[in-house]
Subunit: 256 residues, 2 copies
Amino acid sequence: MNTPAEVRAAIRAGAFDGPTAALAPGFTQANLVVLPEADAFDFLRFCVANPRPCPVLEVLDPGAVEPVFSAPGADLRTDVPRYLIHRDGEVVDEVASVSWRPDLVAFLIGCSFTFERALLAAGLPVRHIEQGVNVPMYRTAVACRPAGRFSGPLVVSMRPMTPSDAIRATQITSRYPGVHGAPVHVGDPSVLGIASLGSPQYGDPVEIRDGEVPVFWACGVTPQAVAAASRPELMITHAPGHMFVTDVPDESLAIG
Amino acid sequence: MNTPAEVRAAIRAGAFDGPTAALAPGFTQANLVVLPEADAFDFLRFCVANPRPCPVLEVLDPGAVEPVFSAPGADLRTDVPRYLIHRDGEVVDEVASVSWRPDLVAFLIGCSFTFERALLAAGLPVRHIEQGVNVPMYRTAVACRPAGRFSGPLVVSMRPMTPSDAIRATQITSRYPGVHGAPVHVGDPSVLGIASLGSPQYGDPVEIRDGEVPVFWACGVTPQAVAAASRPELMITHAPGHMFVTDVPDESLAIG
């Protein structure tokens, strides 16, 4: 189960339903957002206005379930390990597959797994991988730029590093604007309105060692926090960590 | 007439209606596309699928004429020197101001003027500026990725350089993905389906000197070629070279 197509086939067959980190190494994984067409233009405007948390990899035609650009042959109804169903901004169900309607529009949004591989390749620490837990994610007091009916807070992920490693990580992730790009903040978490690094709103806390500072990146879970704030009638997403595996090579997203 | 607001005020007052190159140095200029809301979602999907020719700077609310992000206080009905009215894909009028409807959606798209300043600052030649003419632009045989009702050819701009200058220009423009980014091609124009460098479809031909190669960048005139191919009932654009001047500093678009 090493190629993207093999991973998706195993998920589709019900043989795998776990987190996708480290699967199909070298290929981009994506956040999923599905909305009725009536909300889709507002949401795409929201993504374009907030490219750091919501870098768009692909938008499907209304009703379509096959991402012809990023994963030809895949089926977004079955090929994500776990889906969350949000109604009026609340998660009402977690399921292994979803039914579709002709008016549903699917958005695939870049994921930090791509730049984490580049950080590891450069010898930089990625603490949540070292500790075998999910990355810590925090709902901030920073408002995204609103667009139409969508507004809400920026969600960030955090990786602790020494200042010199943070500088190198800034250089490396700057090459990947399609998967959140450079950090949005380094240092004092209260600047972002984060009260406690030990209590992330999503994922798990990680150890911060002497001499390390927290480094924050915009996070693809932002649309889920925006759903909670903006209360669309229906939104379908992946469950955090349970991503859609595409055929897009990580390196094709690098610039510079 | 040096600040963006002063340039826009002069245009609005009818005191200036020429090309905007070199006005308000240091501030980003933008390509304008206006479409009815019924076509707006398809067009934004087209832009997201083709970020090299169509890097989106701002999308306004339906009916809105003030770009609150990139130029607060401006008015898109009056602040562009010349507008083209396209009906069914044909240019039917060129005007100094436009009326608006509640269903019109305005898109501002990044312009190569931003990266040309960076090239000049690095001592690289920008031949059309040296010669005092408009940049040569070519309709290629390369198809953009279609989205909904929009499809059509990629348009590119061309700047001749020595190979070593082309390498440096690639580095520099890679830092500006929001204004077309790195070149799409260097060398043989027939690879792009361009028959004659001396006969650009838009703009003016420029001299190519011994030892120079043509360097091609994706161009913000692409939506006008896409309109000709896709024939939307109504599209309003700027006239080539007569751009919308924003308050966004060029350097705020640089990464890395």
